[in-house]
Symmetry: C2
Subunit: 277 residues, 2 copies
Amino acid sequence: MTKRVAYFGPAGTFTEAAALRYDPQAQLLPFSSIAAVAAAVDAGMAEEGVVPIENSLEGSVTDTLDLLIHESHLCIRHELVMPIEHCLLVRPGGSAQEVRVVYSHPQALGQCRRFIERCFPKAQAVAALSTAAAVEEMLQSQLPAAAIAPSRAAEIYGAEVLARGIQDHPSNSTRFVVLAHQDHPPTGRDKTSLCFSFEEDRPGLLYSVMGEFASRSINLVKVESRPNKESLGRYVFLIDLEGHREDPIVKEALHGVRAEASMIKILGSYPRYADWA
Amino acid sequence: MTKRVAYFGPAGTFTEAAALRYDPQAQLLPFSSIAAVAAAVDAGMAEEGVVPIENSLEGSVTDTLDLLIHESHLCIRHELVMPIEHCLLVRPGGSAQEVRVVYSHPQALGQCRRFIERCFPKAQAVAALSTAAAVEEMLQSQLPAAAIAPSRAAEIYGAEVLARGIQDHPSNSTRFVVLAHQDHPPTGRDKTSLCFSFEEDRPGLLYSVMGEFASRSINLVKVESRPNKESLGRYVFLIDLEGHREDPIVKEALHGVRAEASMIKILGSYPRYADWA
C-alpha cells in the first residue's frame, strides 16, 4: 500500500516541496493547518505528517512547538532541511513593469522586503494565507499583480516565474519534521528532541539539567523556551541533543532529568539530516 | 517640557494602555510598527518608546527581540506587565445574535478561539492589522459584525462593549518594555537583559556561560534563543537576570561572559516590575 503523508498545504508551498523531497513515492495529502496535519496522522488518515519547525531567519514555528509540547502524542520520526528560494510569479505573459500589488504570506513578504522596495517602490504588499493562496489571488487580481512563492507554485497554478532567489538574505532555510506514531530506531547518527518544565520557578534547575548532558559530553544542538501558558515568566524548555534516546549515556542523562523536572516529554529520536541527506 | 512617549499603536491597543499606565502625564505618540517606535526614539522624536516583548500564551514578540539584538542601540529602561482583557465590541445598539463576521488581530482571534466557536459557530473570523483596526473595520462592515479589542477601543471609536474577558485562558498577560537612550540607575531591585553568541558552534559554551551566573547565585529569570540569521542551527542567546549591571557580582559574571562569547550586548538594567507596581 502506498504510504500516505499529510502536510501543511496547500500544494505549491515549501512544506509540499519538503514532503516531496522526503518521500517522492508517497501519496501526499494537504491540510490547512499544522494542528490538522497532526490530527490526520493521529486519526490514521495518514501514516506520517510533514510540518515546518524552524526557519533560519524567523526562528521557531511556535505553532509546531506548542502542538508537540501541549497537545499531540505524536513523535518526531525524521527531520529535513530545505533551502527557501522565493520566486516572483506573474500571469503568463505578464511583465514586472506594470506590477501594482505584490501578494504573499507575511513571512515571505518580510523575507523579500528589500527586493520589493527596490523593484516595486510603488506597489502595495498584500498578505495572503499561504504562498499558494497568494498565487491564486494574483491570478484573479483586478490590478496588475505579482506573487512571491516557490517556483513549483508556478507549475501548479499556471503562472510564470519572472525572477528566482529574490529573498534579501541568501542563507534562508527551513527545517521540517516528520510526525508519526513512533519515532525512528537508532542509526548511530541521531538526534533527540525533548521538553521539560519544573514545578518550582528556580532557573538554576535549567542549569542543573543542562549539567546532566554536559557532564556526559552529550552535545546540545538547541535550547529554547516556550511559555508554559499558565503564568508569565514560567517556561517549558526544549532541547535537541546529539544521540538516540536508547543510547546508554543518553538514557542515563534522561534519567537524571526525570529526577529534577516535574514534566518531561521525549518528542522523539530520529536520524540527523546532515547524515541522511 | 512634557515627556513624549512613542508606542506601537494605533490608539486603543493594549500597548497604548501600557503606555498610559507607564506615564499618564506623557504625550503619547502612536507609531505603526515596533521598528518605527525605536526609530522615533533614536531620532529624538520621543524620549521613550513602549513596545510589547512577551505574552504569557504566545511567547516572545520576536520583532522586538530581533530589533534589540540586531538593529537598535536603545536600552531597556523599564518593564511593565499588563493583564490582557479581550472584549467583544459591536456597533452602538448592535446585538450578538446577528453577528456574521468577527474582526481582530490574528493573535487576539487565536486567544478567543473557543469563545468564537461557542458563541458564533457560523461567524467568519477575519484578520485585521491591529485590534484597533478591527474596530474600524467592524464599524464599516456591510455584514453584521463584532470586533475583539480592549475596552478602551470602544471609547475611542464609539463602539459598544457587549462582553468582557472573553479570552479562552484566564491568565493572559503581556510584558512591555520601555526603550530609551539610557537604561535605569540601580534601585536595589533590578533586572538586567543581555544577549550573546559564540564564534564556534559548541553548545557547551551556553552551559559554561550559565555557570558564570549559577556559581555567583545570580538568578536567571529567562533563557531564550533566537536565530543568528546567518545559518540554521546557530543562535543568539538572551538572558534576563536578577540584579543590576553595576552590581559588583553581576559585573564580575558579565566579565566572565565577555571572555567566552564572541558577541555580548547588554540590553539594559531596569527596576523589576513586581517591585515598582
